[in-house]
């Protein structure tokens, strides 16, 4: 009983400690999501390229966020050999300004229509529950300690984008276009 009591006291202290410390910790989950998003974007192409349109795809993300920091690291590492431009956006409406891809946080998603974004040619990437049901294109989901992804072919088609078959084979779920 004495040992049990000591362990219970210890667990209470742990809970208190984690409450204090968790707010300061960095988030490697976001770092991994940024790496996967950026890598997935490499395999996205336009279905019907317009002559004279820049070859590089425009990847939009909200500024001053951890995901933007992560994407910037990926961009810096690959900037010379990758047809992808990163644009950091200050307001949700900025996502309607011609992005080929957009990473949307839960907060962004509340203020935007995923279907409308697809119609304007934006392939959306997000990590919120029900992202595909809401019309999102690529859903990043945590499985154990790993990040996997599901694809909504309907959103890809609406956004006039294609995703490499090599990548589709790696998806946890590929939801067919209706």
């Amino acid at each position: 009983m004495k040992l049990l009591r000591q362990h219970i006291i210890f667990l209470v202290l742990v809970a208190a400690f984690s409450g204090v410390a968790s707010g300061r910790a960095a988030d490697p989950k976001v770092t991994l999501e940024a790496a996967i998003s950026y890598n997935l974007a490499r395999f996205v192409s336009r279905l019907s390229p317009v002559p004279g349109e820049p070859r590089a795809l425009l990847f939009c993300v909200r500024e001053k966020t951890l995901i933007a920091d992560g994407l910037r690291v990926m961009q810096a590492a690959r900037q010379n050999n990758h047809p992808l431009l990163l644009r950091e956006i200050s307001t949700p409406k900025g996502f309607y300004s011609g992005c080929d891809l957009a990473f949307l946080s839960a907060t962004d998603q509340k203020e935007l229509s995923l279907e409308k974004l697809a119609i304007t040619g934006t392939l959306t990437i997000g990590n919120t529950d029900g992202f595909l049901d809401a019309g999102g294109g690529i859903h990043l989901l945590q499985v154990g300690q790993k990040i996997s992804f599901s694809v909504n072919m309907g959103a890809l088609k609406t956004a006039k984008k294609a995703l490499s078959s090599r990548v589709l084979k790696l998806a946890k779920e590929v939801r067919a276009a209706l």
Binding site: H7, F17, R24, I36, N39, Q145, I147, L170
Partner: protein, 362 residues
């Protein structure tokens, strides 16, 4: 089992075998920095675990509470009752019965560790333990029919360097080398029957806080992901040098552990392990523990240096709970029960051990 322990005693050979096995089993890296992530393929990224992502340099802090419960007796693999071990007036005194019988021993350790990632591959840590021990005894000696002795103090401080020498998306291997400094006391005293009531005498080996010698610590570990399970193997050894101020040296020990962890859940990771460890007897002896001028100078089994060490096989379980998604704060609870013990001489046997650790990296 005996044959295996004989092999284990040849610690160097065991380590060499492990090293060769690891070298043939491994490919690339499990711990990755954000910069390294940018160089991985999409297939490799999908195999990376969130907790394996770390900053370029990182500190880690750990507090661990360990509890070890020892009690009742064994000689070799045979269990003995207290009556079989205790010498009572009228019986024949031999070298296998004792006037004083320690019955139950509790050891509690509060260990604090601070570590630092020096490079992506190398880390260094220092551990400071605070050791608290309590032993219950029975004897026929008047005034000492039942008595307890306690000792507590800061134990031996260890410095350990860990190097990750093989890295793969689904496996990793490392080795560690360290040294334990003889900070812990080997001069703990208490009121024992040896000098009569009210006097303080040198306590037996089990009640001392430190080893009194500079000890080298080594480990070699390998873990491989197989879907939702991770399988691992770890070898470790403690090699002691010279003799301490009380003219003895605790025995070297060599161990090997097989582990499996379930990785299918993000925040809770249960695991099982089987460990085998062999420990040598004490070399030399502390003369102050002897009863002078008698045929059998050891008043209790734990004062005879030959009654130390042996072989133990344990089955253990552990559960690690991440207290946040990134798992930079986690709690690790472990428990182990010996299912085989082959002990040198007559000595109290281990019954179980429990530990709870809180780890924080920043």
């Amino acid at each position: 089992m005996d044959a295996f322990f004989r092999m284990l005693r040849g610690g160097a050979a065991c380590f060499a075998s492990l090293l060769i096995w690891v070298a043939f089993s491994v490919g690339v890296s499990a711990q990755v920095t954000p910069n390294e992530l940018s160089r991985l393929s999409i297939e490799e990224l999908l195999g990376v675990e969130i907790e394996d992502i770390q900053d370029e340099k990182r500190w880690f802090l750990s507090y661990e509470f360990r509890y070890l419960d020892i009690g009742r007796y064994q000689s070799g693999t045979d269990k003995l009752t207290f009556d079989e071990v205790q010498f009572l007036p009228g019986e024949t005194r031999t070298n296998s019965n004792y006037p004083i019988v320690p019955t139950f021993i509790e050891q509690k350790v509060h260990a604090f560790s601070l570590g630092r990632e020096i490079t992506d591959e190398m880390s260094i840590s220092v551990t400071v333990p605070y050791v608290m021990q309590q032993t219950k005894h029975i004897s026929f000696i008047a005034g000492f029919e039942e008595f307890e002795i306690e000792s507590s103090d800061v134990g031996d401080i260890s410095l350990l360097g860990q190097y990750r020498f093989l890295r793969a998306a689904s496996s990793h291997a490392s080795f560690g080398l360290g040294i334990s400094f003889p900070v812990g006391s080997i001069k703990e005293i208490g009121d024992t029957p040896r000098g009569g009531a009210g006097t303080l005498e040198q306590l037996p080996y089990t009640m001392q806080i430190g080893s009194g010698t500079y000890d080298f610590i080594a480990n070699l570990a390998y873990e491989k992901d197989t879907g939702q399970w991770a399988l691992g193997i770890k070898g470790s050894a403690t090699l002691r040098t010279g003799k301490n101020d009380s003219n003895y040296r605790l025995g070297n020990n060599y161990g090997i552990e097989l582990t499996t962890r379930f990785k299918g859940w993000s925040l809770i990771r249960p695991g099982l392990n089987v460990s085998l460890r062999t420990t040598e007897a004490i070399h030399g002896r502390d003369e102050s523990l002897l009863i002078p001028g008698v045929a059998f100078p050891f008043g209790a089994s734990i004062t005879d240096p030959a009654n130390f060490g042996g072989e133990k096989a344990k089955l253990g379980g552990n559960i690690r709970v991440c207290l946040q998604d990134a798992c930079t704060i986690n709690l690790n609870v472990r428990a182990a029960f010996p299912f085989y013990q082959n002990l040198n001489g007559i000595q109290p046997r281990e019954r179980f051990s429990v530990s709870t650790a809180l780890n924080y990296s920043f």
